[in-house]
Symmetry: C2
């Protein structure tokens, strides 16, 4: 799940690689993305801010998208968030998922990063893949898997119907992010989260937790 | 609802203004946007393609966003689509809304234009406003208004709760557009529309048609 590579001998850089070099790069990238957005931030810019040679940034990270994903993952560890969503009353999984969403997006600190991720995913195929995999594999797919009814086969891989339900959940919440925070539809942008949580929680509960029969999805799995 | 201006005397251009000049500009813009996307298409480019002076394009249209909105409106007249959605069995308004969505987005001819509109709305505040107003006023707000329960006050303006429901509907469908057609989440991108229609129709029915009590939305309207 982590995009970290095993520590390896770094190439020659402007300064010797210490144990904190990687952390310094991540910290520099976090600030750079938040200030300038995804598109305008280059690996070279991040290197300069971290005070390291650009080759060192490329040594630790496959590219800008990988570095960005790392930052998102560091700030909001999806495994921890998902666990908090699936633990507890199974009838309130939808509500907990929606509350987690608003905690991230209504946070002045985290919103710019997630907004940059969403914008970049529309402009850049690498970022689109990052977001796609993040949402499908780390977030909604994982919740659907964990919420399989007792007696179902052990959670390993999603069925086609389960993957569709995870996709519907991703569509509902990414659309809310788009309309509330980026397009800024007044009725959503101006509403307190507490007013939006109940109807969204209802929808997300239906998408994330099977009612056992998958009645509304064709059963042609696979 | 139309962005057309009254015909007026055009400024001097490379050729005399005929009755078809405006239509020629619209046709040229349609092709240019579809081929090059919103961002890469300039007013000058459209003028060259239409064989007119750029000043003539600016005479008829306030800017690129206005021209783009005009094209979207010409191809998919929201008033006609909304009427077809609200007419008929009120319990299937959600389903008709979702089917209309897939008719537009699964059309090879129309999808590029709507995808360009969505992309541009993330990059450009003019385009964001166009999309915002289009979705809130012409599409979902209008459906919610028309579906007011009998006996409610005559349809004129949305209450805060109604505007929120329209916004939730816009969020669900724009998120589906984002995830199925732009981010291309495999579970959604690869699914036949018929498999996605039932769960989406269920959600949209709840958002678009009040159950009379607005039970899940705070009643602090206004």
């Amino acid at each position: 799940m982590s995009t970290r590579r095993a520590p390896a001998r770094p190439p020659r850089g402007r300064r010797p690689a210490g144990v904190d070099t990687r952390a310094d790069i991540v910290a520099a990238a976090r600030t750079a993305f938040a200030e300038a957005g995804y598109q305008a931030t280059s690996m070279r810019h991040i290197a300069r801010r971290a005070g390291v040679d650009p080759s060192l940034v490329h040594h630790y990270f496959d590219g800008k998208a990988a570095l960005f994903a790392e930052i998102v993952q560091i700030r909001v560890d999806p495994a921890v968030v998902v666990q908090a969503i699936v633990d507890g009353d199974p009838d309130r999984v939808g509500e907990r998922a929606v509350r987690s969403f608003f905690e991230v997006w209504d946070s002045a600190e985290q919103r710019p990063l997630f907004a940059a991720l969403l914008r970049s995913a529309l402009a850049d195929e690498h970022a689109a893949r990052t977001l796609r995999e993040f949402l499908a594999e780390e977030v909604f797919g994982r919740i659907v898997l964990q919420m399989r009814p007792a007696g179902a086969s052990a959670p390993t891989q999603l069925s086609a119907a389960e993957a569709q339900r995870a996709g519907l959940a991703a569509a509902q919440m990414s659309g809310m992010a788009l309309m509330r925070y980026i397009i800024a539809l007044p009725a959503l942008a101006d509403a307190p989260a507490e007013e939006l949580i109940p109807p969204l929680a209802h929808t997300m509960q239906r998408y994330l937790v099977s009612e056992g029969d998958e009645e509304y999805i064709s059963s042609d799995d696979e």
